[in-house]
């Protein structure tokens, strides 16, 4: 291994040098140079030139590969995809594949403990602003050191869950036995290290499972080991640099992400796995990894009170900066309303909508809820930005026929936009009732109207 691993993004001139220079035009561009320029801008495909040499193909393909490999774990609708990120900061575009969280079960636990832990993994899920936040994977750790036990537990757990799995053992024979039992579920194998790399790579290749490469002394060592595993024929690789402290974690993760997306160095362009452990330190590792480039974080244990903030952080960080999470603007019927039920409005920002709907559902009182298209902005933000005006509310009510659904001749508006009352009254002919500033006050108001 030498610095040949360091490949800069090829410029048009560099690509041009690799082309046949026939200027035949079969690529639909007049000259090889024109074609090279389009290639450099990713506006053309190399296959369009019938005469490129295999060597040129290989050289260019290596530099055209995504900066961080996409790795799939598991099968079916719960399968996890990690990697394939292109940005250093979320505002530059977005982060694509949210950090996946795993709960690890020891194979020296009793059968009852194992069952309880699987149930715990399944129960750590919450509905929030229309999305399901959950524990994504279950791992089995070969603490027993016994290959049969490891394989038996893996098989047993695989029957209890639809979640993708991780097998953790540094013994190739144990890994081979367990992986062969559940290979159809495409588990992640953790993993290859300095002393077992060849044998582990063979298991991964044979079972067609992705493989974690673990090496905690230095990134140089890690890159060496990755190259070795790759040479052995394994493509789906995940990195574990064995972070010792949060400093180690944030710095090494940043180095790997940066050299990969900037294509300064291609040998570590793989998703990052972090073993968090348990307790407060584990949550801190989870939080830092979620913000700074961790793809899979494994916990020995975690409670709902800390899992929720962690999940919500992931939801926030992985929201597309250009598109707030929104719901469809429409007239919504909540708790089976009829003509006598009150009419309310709110905005189509998911956080706003689900907060308001949650409060209305709590009251059990039927209502019609008109959701206004504010391009996914909250009440105050939309109002301040001129994206929630009485005219827009009036128009939405007209379009949905809300006044024929609720015939009370009234509308309840968010307390924060009390200022639009008289104008809205004038435009719609409806009597405006200014609601509370926070929708938590809605049940009380609704009850008083009954």
């Amino acid at each position: 291994m030498s610095c040949s691993e360091v490949i800069e993004v090829p410029t048009a001139m560099e690509i041009f040098k690799l082309l046949p220079k026939k200027n035949c035009g079969e690529c639909k561009f007049p000259t090889c140079l024109a074609f090279a320029m389009q290639l450099a801008n990713q506006k053309a495909k190399l296959e369009d030139c019938p005469y490129v040499s295999d060597q040129a193909k290989a050289t260019l393909a290596a530099s055209a590969a995504p900066p961080i490999r996409l790795v799939k774990i598991g099968t079916g609708s719960n399968a996890i995809e990690v990697g394939d990120e292109t940005e250093l900061y979320r505002h530059e575009k977005k982060f694509f594949h949210p950090t996946a969280y795993a709960l690890i079960i020891s194979d020296s636990s009793s059968d009852d403990e194992i069952k309880a832990k699987v149930e715990k993994a399944h129960s750590l899920r919450f509905e929030r602003v229309g999305q399901l936040l959950k524990m994504d994977m279950i791992g089995i750790k070969n603490d027993s050191g016994n290959a049969e036990r490891f394989a038996a537990v893996a098989e047993k757990v695989s029957k209890m869950t639809d979640l993708p799995m991780i097998l953790v053992s540094d013994k190739p024979d144990a890994m081979k036995l367990a992986a062969s039992k559940i290979a159809a579920k495409v588990p992640l194998l953790h993993g290859a290290n300095l002393s077992n790399a060849e044998a582990m790579a063979a298991v991964a290749k044979e079972t067609k499972c992705p493989l974690v490469v673990y090496e905690d002394t230095s990134l140089n060592q890690l890159a060496d080991l990755v190259a070795k595993v790759k040479t052995a024929g394994v493509e789906d690789i995940v990195l574990d640099f064995g972070a010792k402290t949060l400093k180690d974690l944030i710095e090494k993760s940043t180095i790997i992400r940066k050299i990969s997306v900037k294509k300064i160095f291609r040998g570590l362009g793989y998703p990052i796995f972090v073993y968090a452990g348990e307790g407060e330190r584990a949550i801190l590792r989870g939080l830092i990894s979620t913000m700074k480039y961790g793809s899979i974080v494994a916990f020995d244990d975690i409670d709902p009170a800390t899992a929720l903030p962690l999940y919500v952080l992931r939801q926030n960080i992985y929201t597309d900066p250009q598109v707030p999470i929104q719901v469809k603007p429409d007239l919504y019927a909540i708790n089976n309303p009829n003509e006598k039920s009150p009419l309310l409005f709110t905005t189509n920002f998911s956080l706003t909508y689900f907060t308001v709907v949650g409060d209305i559902e709590k009251s059990k009182i039927p209502v019609w809820l008109q959701v206004i298209d504010t391009e996914g902005l909250s009440v105050m933000t939309a109002f301040a930005a001129g994206k929630l005006t009485p005219e827009m509310v009036a128009k939405a009510l007209e379009a949905s026929g809300a006044k024929n659904k609720s015939k009370r001749g009234e509308i309840i508006i968010p307390g924060m936009v009390a200022r639009m009352s008289s104008k809205l009254q004038e435009l719609t002919g409806l009597k405006v009732i200014v609601g509370p500033k926070e929708s938590s006050g809605l049940p009380k108001l609704l009850k008083s109207l009954e």
Partner: protein, 318 residues
């Protein structure tokens, strides 16, 4: 062996430093001053040579409990009834670097305490604890102008950090800070251009850059945190790339986390509420730090403890 390159950025800009608090040698009475800012790289990347001053933590003290959540009181007990006792608890029990005193009782629509009464509270707290002080008014423009003038005078030699100036109201508070060489918080509403704008207005008005700390509005976890995270990062990146009008330290008020309903609602499915509330604030704080905050204003002692542990490790401890 392969040599993995270290991608060290060549930043041309550097964050300025701001000093809060004055010790005897500067004519004040603080035991220690707090220095924030000074980074030469993105947060917590020592290979960029960035960490000069450890981010500071201020404990929140309010002079009325009108809007203070019951859940938060537990950690302090009766001490919250008295800003002096409350401040002492923060410093002596929980080891915060500063106290952030919010003079909400001056709100003319509520208790309407006089500027003199409020200033007297500041004096008492200064006498009771050795740490530097951040002081806020109630958010009512005209009243704050008077309150902050009185505060500025009573803490004349103490180099307070006064909150806050914003685009629509900055002159009187800027004047109050300039009169006695206090530092000043420049607030803007989640927008990099507005963050720059208020710094320009303040410096044009005569406030020195080393006296400014920017507050770009930290939104809570689950309530727009992603906006703040990215605005903070963009501000810090622009500053490092050389935009001198953004080269000031950043403060984030994470007490806003207590406004997120999920943080504080009693709900067995969501786990222990005390633990959850603390982590809600700690998570918000960690996101603030990772995106560029040099100073935090915090409510929960448990969250402070968590954040201190994180900082210890992030700055090289184990």
């Amino acid at each position: 062996m392969v040599e993995v390159p270290i991608p060290k950025e060549k930043w041309t800009g550097k964050i300025g430093t701001t000093i809060i608090g004055a010790t005897a040698e500067d004519g004040g009475t603080r035991g220690k001053k707090v220095v924030i800012g000074g980074e030469t790289g993105m947060p917590f990347l020592s290979f960029e040579g960035s960490i000069v001053n450890r981010p500071a933590i201020a404990g929140e003290v309010i002079d009325t409990l009108r809007d203070y959540p019951l859940l938060a009181r537990k950690a302090f007990g009766d001490a919250v009834e008295d800003p002096v006792q409350w401040s002492k608890a923060w410093v002596e029990k929980y080891g915060v670097d500063l106290i952030c005193l919010k003079l909400q009782s001056t709100n003319p629509e509520e208790e309407n305490k006089s500027p003199q009464e409020a200033a007297e509270t500041v004096r008492k707290v200064l006498a009771a604890v050795p740490v530097p002080l951040v002081v806020y008014g109630c958010g009512h423009e005209e009243k704050d102008a008077k309150t902050m003038e009185a505060v500025s005078n009573i803490g004349a030699k103490e180099r307070l950090l006064l909150g806050h100036a914003e685009e629509s109201a900055y002159k009187s508070i800027a004047a109050a800070s300039m009169a006695n060489n206090h530092a000043l918080i420049a607030f803007s509403n989640l927008d990099i251009n507005l963050a720059k704008q208020i710094n320009i207005l303040l410096t044009d008005f005569g406030v020195k850059k080393e006296n400014i700390v920017a507050d770009p509005l930290m939104a809570s976890l689950g309530m727009g945190l992603e906006y703040s995270y990215s605005v903070n990062e963009r501000i810090r990146l622009a500053a490092l790339m050389g935009d001198s009008m953004l080269q000031v330290p950043m403060v984030c008020d994470t007490t806003i986390a207590w406004k997120a309903r999920e943080a504080t609602e009693e709900n067995d499915k969501l786990g222990d509420v005390d633990v959850r509330a603390a982590w809600w604030e700690a998570t918000t704080a960690l996101a603030a730090l990772v995106s560029g905050a040099d100073m935090l204003i915090m409510r929960s002692p448990k969250a402070v403890e968590i954040v201190k542990k994180a900082l210890h490790e992030l700055l090289g401890g184990d």
